[in-house]
Amino acid sequence: MTLSAPSLELEQLTAAKVIDARGSACPGPLLEAKKGMGTVAIGEIIEIWSSDPATRTDIGAWAGKVGHEFLGCVETGGYDRVFVRRGK
């Protein structure tokens, strides 16, 4: 998996909303991300925590299709932190 930004840069981002979707099976984290995106302003970032390994690629694909910017993913002991900037 190629991260779109170095982990350190991602970790310095301030997310407007952090969504803990750990323990949720596909497509739960994606649904949580879509729900959460509606609560932040355009240009703001959401961070989704997921223990489902499919989430990072699914959220990347979703963001690309619906017009958000997938910033990347940081692996953190047992789960992924996925960063997306609201595009529209």
């Binding site: 099976a25 497509p27 994606l30 649904l31 879509k34």
Partner: protein, 137 residues
């Protein structure tokens, strides 16, 4: 290509219904319109009072498959009906009962869970599919 994704649900076991719910929710999250028709045993599974009960698995699961699924299903995992509820909150998902199946099962639309938006015939469903893909589960 049409951005409408259509599903015909015929089977009423939890594995088939979960498979369909995952596809419906994924398509809704991607911004597709989702158009669902319930027939036969899938329709029966949406009855008020039945929707949140155990509908078993396909025969091919066998006792070993059923035991494996039970063992690996984490507590708190969303049941398929809840996945569909979330999909309806987040996107454009319409679920219709097949009028033919309602008749065959001796049901009317008032006996169905509120997840079901109404009842329609096959022509209405096909027109609502807008030429997009139709998946049969």
């Amino acid at each position: 290509m049409s951005d409408t994704f259509s599903l015909v649900l015929c089977s009423g076991t939890d594995d088939k219904l979960e498979s369909a719910a995952i596809m419906a929710a994924g398509a809704a999250a991607l911004g597709n319109r989702v158009n669902v028709l319930l027939q036969f045993w899938a329709l029966d599974a949406f009855r008020v009072g039945a929707i949140d009960t155990d509908h078993g698995l396909l025969a091919e699961a066998g006792p070993a498959g059923a035991a494996a699924v039970r063992e690996h299903t984490p507590l708190g995992r969303l049941p398929w009906a809840e996945t569909l509820r979330q999909a309806k909150e987040l996107g454009e998902v319409e679920i219709q009962a097949c009028t033919n199946s309602l008749d065959l099962l001796g049901l009317d639309a008032t006996q169905l869970d509120p997840l079901v938006d109404g009842a329609c015939g096959i022509a209405t469903f096909l027109i609502n599919a807008e030429g997009g893909p139709i998946v049969f589960v």
